[in-house]
């Protein structure tokens, strides 16, 4: 039995460490409902005060209002953003990455500094390429999971417009 414990410990440790994603940044934004425009600590925002309505999860071809998207992050969504004018084949790769998923937002983001930034509640990762395997790993770890305060809340039936 002791040997079993010794054998399983490294497995357990490996399982835990495989969940950390290189380059991820974490924050400690807090949540509240407000009307109107919000100044956010991160760009794109990775949490904070937000509109009472949430952005419906899905694929958008125009930038979103931060205030709705942040509410979706609170509900466990992952928001994938790319600069306006990203090459069409790269946008397509991002669309394929989220196809069929129910807790992701994909949209361009005005003046984004990296080719891809993926955000969840209080976590964010910058990527140079849509094919970086860390993208799907981030989605897997944070969609409906991770640090979202309201896991299990809806990501549809609310706000579906763009800015």
């Amino acid at each position: 039995m002791k040997r079993l414990l010794v054998l399983t410990l490294p497995v357990l440790l490996a399982a835990c460490s495989s969940n950390t994603i290189q380059g991820i940044k974490t924050y400690s934004n807090t949540s509240s409902h407000v009307q109107g425009k919000v100044a956010y600590a991160q760009t794109p925002p990775a949490g904070g005060a937000h509109n009472p309505a949430w952005q419906n999860c899905g694929v958008y071809d125009r930038p979103l209002y931060n205030e709705y998207a942040v509410h979706s992050l609170e509900h466990g969504a992952v928001w994938i953003t790319y600069p306006e004018g990203l090459a069409a084949d790269q946008v397509q790769q991002l669309q394929q990455a989220v196809a069929g998923r129910t807790y992701t937002l994909l949209s361009p983001y005005t003046d984004l500094k990296a080719p891809v930034v993926v955000s969840a509640w209080n976590a964010q990762l910058q990527l140079d390429s849509p094919t970086d395997p860390r993208l799907l790993k981030f989605v897997q770890n944070y969609a409906q999971g991770g640090t979202a305060p309201e896991i299990g809340a809806s990501c549809s039936g609310a706000y579906g417009e763009t800015s």
């Binding site: 039995m1 002791k2 079993l4 414990l5 399983t8 497995v11 466990g76 989220v98 196809a99 069929g100 998923r101 129910t102 807790y103 799907l136 989605v139 897997q140 770890n141 969609a143 409906q144 999971g145 896991i151 299990g152 809806s154 549809s156 039936g157």
Partner: protein, 199 residues
Amino acid sequence: MTWLRWLSVPILLGSGVVLGLNLVASPGETSPEVRFARDMSAHHTQAVDMSVTLLKRARDPQVRLLAQDMALTQQAQIGQMSGWLMAWGRAPSGQEAPMSGMDRADIGLASPAEVRTLDSLPAGLAEVRYLALMRRHHLGGVAMAKAALNAVKRPETRAFAERVITAQTAEITAIDAMLKARMTVGAPAAPEMRDMPHD
């Protein structure tokens, strides 16, 4: 030192049980149990989405009540399935999108355009369209649950799949009666009820 040896037996046995439950018995990442929980949650999500739209828009009290029932029931069931995944130590999302490899029409999913018509059609037409889409969605859900019963072993998952088959089959009958009463034309065709291949 004999007493120490005897003392250690139940402790070791105890730790073995704990290890066994956590590492051996919990369904793995590629198990049919985990796949079913993720796929069926995503399938339910569309039913909730369509039902919330009708809960807001329907004028017919019967349709509004059905939409309320569907939204609350299926959202609660999503919670049950998420609960298993948490207890099993599995993320709600897989490496692949849910229901990947399945034919979306075969499992009764409405296309994005069909979902949008529930918002855009006049309320009376949207009510009938919702009934027809939910009928097809339930047929697909029953087929998914039947296919799962061929593969899953966990008692909570099997009992859940059996409940889905019973409840949704009964609701299909109810929807049929509502559709008949409204004399529909142009409803989307329903797929045959048959077992779905998972890959």
